[in-house]
């Protein structure tokens, strides 16, 4: 079946959202073309509100007029719809799929919250506690996910877990620069550190990264806001 002829794909997004990039990378893995619509989240379009009335958020993928919301749902939809085209996002074997889904949840459930807390808290006990919690979870990731000879968590190409962790590959170094302290060093996390470089250089990722200088300015402003309103 020739998909290309009968498909219209739109992605509603925002230039700084890591969840939007996750979807862009997934579409890139499948080699899919799409129309990108930039949203002003302070002035959401009628289309966005119509496509995602429940959460009113980006990303939203619209496939032949039908909307799919929530980045993890969208990524699995992309893998389902274009099965057999481009790379695999989820493995074939059910147990391996379960492991991929398990680790993909670990990122938003366990890892991201202390990292965000570390970034949005002024220096002191509370920030140090957040950093320690983040390091503890990073250790779990480093140890349990024995990359061995694999380039990525998904094997020899970017998969679901890589996509889930992905934005942290550029966000963590940015946070480190802004705060002036390290979270991931090569000595402490050799596998993760090496993975970060490989991920940013991977074919589906390297041409689909946010504008870094603008993002850094944005993150600086965010940290200032949180410190002021603590």
């Amino acid at each position: 079946m020739d998909h290309q002829q009968e498909e219209k794909v739109q992605l509603f997004g925002m230039w700084a959202s890591p969840y939007v990039y996750k979807v862009k990378w997934a579409l890139s893995i499948k080699g899919m073309e799409y129309e990108y619509v930039e949203e002003d989240l302070g002035n959401k379009s009628g289309q966005l509100l119509e496509h995602n009335p429940v959460h009113k958020k980006v990303p939203v993928l619209v496939y032949n007029g039908r909307p799919v919301a929530e980045s993890d749902v969208i990524v699995q939809f992309i893998d389902d719809v274009w099965k057999g085209q481009g790379g695999r996002i989820l493995p074939e074997d059910p147990h391996e799929r379960a492991m991929a889904r398990f680790w993909a949840r670990f990122v938003p459930d366990k890892l991201s919250p202390p990292i965000w807390k570390w970034f949005t808290t002024a220096g002191g006990e509370e920030q140090e506690a957040a950093r320690e919690a983040a390091v503890e979870h990073l250790r779990v990731l480093e140890a349990e996910l024995n990359l061995g000879r694999n380039e990525f968590f998904g094997g020899d190409s970017v998969g679901l877990v890589d996509l889930s962790l992905g934005a942290l590959a550029y966000v963590i170094p940015m946070y480190e620069e802004i705060i002036g302290a390290r979270l991931i060093t090569e000595e402490m996390f050799p596998s993760l550190y090496a993975w970060m470089g490989r991920f940013l250089a991977a074919p589906p990722v390297k041409d689909h990264l946010p504008p870094m200088e603008e993002l850094k300015l944005r993150f600086r402003a965010i940290r200032e806001y949180f410190l002021k309103n603590a």
Partner: protein, 235 residues
């Protein structure tokens, strides 16, 4: 033993709604399994070895390989036992995405709000949580309408993934309704959900998986008293 000598064990604890989800899924698919009751205050070697990351129940062990996290387990059951019993997720990719969206809503919006309502740090936070729960249930009514398209379940003619994800919570919903004299799924504001709760709760596979109502209420009261005692002793 399930089909063809497969070994399926479920490590769980009788009161956990997340464990109930997995039991419902296994029963809907007609998969036999061994239930291993875990004492969460004294975790077994088996649990710690099978779920070293979270050390929580449920854990499904299929032919010696562990799977953790209830929603991951339910999807695993659907995929690993694809030839057995009804499919829990639809075949169509878009319908599947809709089901996953609503399952995520139940986890990330409804249950998060519920957690804030019961464990919020201040009375203000708790009240806000309760309001969020009420709003989420109204939204979920719309979700049921979208998924069921006039049929009895989120999964359509037969119970599916979203029914299981929400249905695991029914035991606790009933307990809370009894204890607080409320109706979480109010038939006047959320008629579809109220009817669904009755209907789903009466499926034999679900009844067999649910914790005993009286025992759950006793357990809930005991926990509340413990929490109150702990709070009083730190004042």
């Amino acid at each position: 033993m399930a089909e063809g000598g497969e070994e399926v064990r479920l490590i769980g604890s009788w009161a956990s709604p997340y464990v109930v989800r997995v039991q419902i899924a296994l029963r809907l698919k007609g998969i036999s399994y061994e239930f291993v009751e875990e004492d969460l205050k004294n975790k077994s070697e088996l649990l710690l070895k099978s779920n070293p990351v979270h050390k929580k129940v449920p854990v499904l062990i299929h032919n010696g390989k562990p799977v953790c996290e209830s929603s991951v387990i339910v999807q695993y059951i659907d995929e690993a036992f694809a030839g057995t019993g009804p499919a829990l997720l639809p075949a169509d990719p878009y319908e599947r995405a809709v089901a996953r969206f609503w399952a995520a809503f139940i986890e990330d919006t409804l249950l998060k709000a519920s957690s804030q309502a019961s464990s919020g740090k201040t009375e203000e936070e708790k009240t806000e949580g309760k309001e969020k729960v009420a709003a989420a249930i109204v939204t979920l009514e719309g979700g049921l309408r979208e998924c069921s398209k006039g049929k009895p379940f989120f999964g359509g003619e037969s119970a599916g993934y979203v029914d299981v994800i929400l249905g695991g919570l029914l035991g606790w919903v009933r307990a809370i309704d009894t204890m607080q004299g409320v109706k979480t799924f109010d038939p006047s504001t959320t008629p579809l959900l109220a009817a669904w709760a009755e209907r789903f709760g009466q499926l034999e596979q679900v009844e067999a998986a649910m914790p005993d109502g009286k025992r759950l209420i006793e357990y809930a009261y005991a926990r509340a008293m413990q929490a109150a005692a702990a709070a009083a002793s730190t004042n």
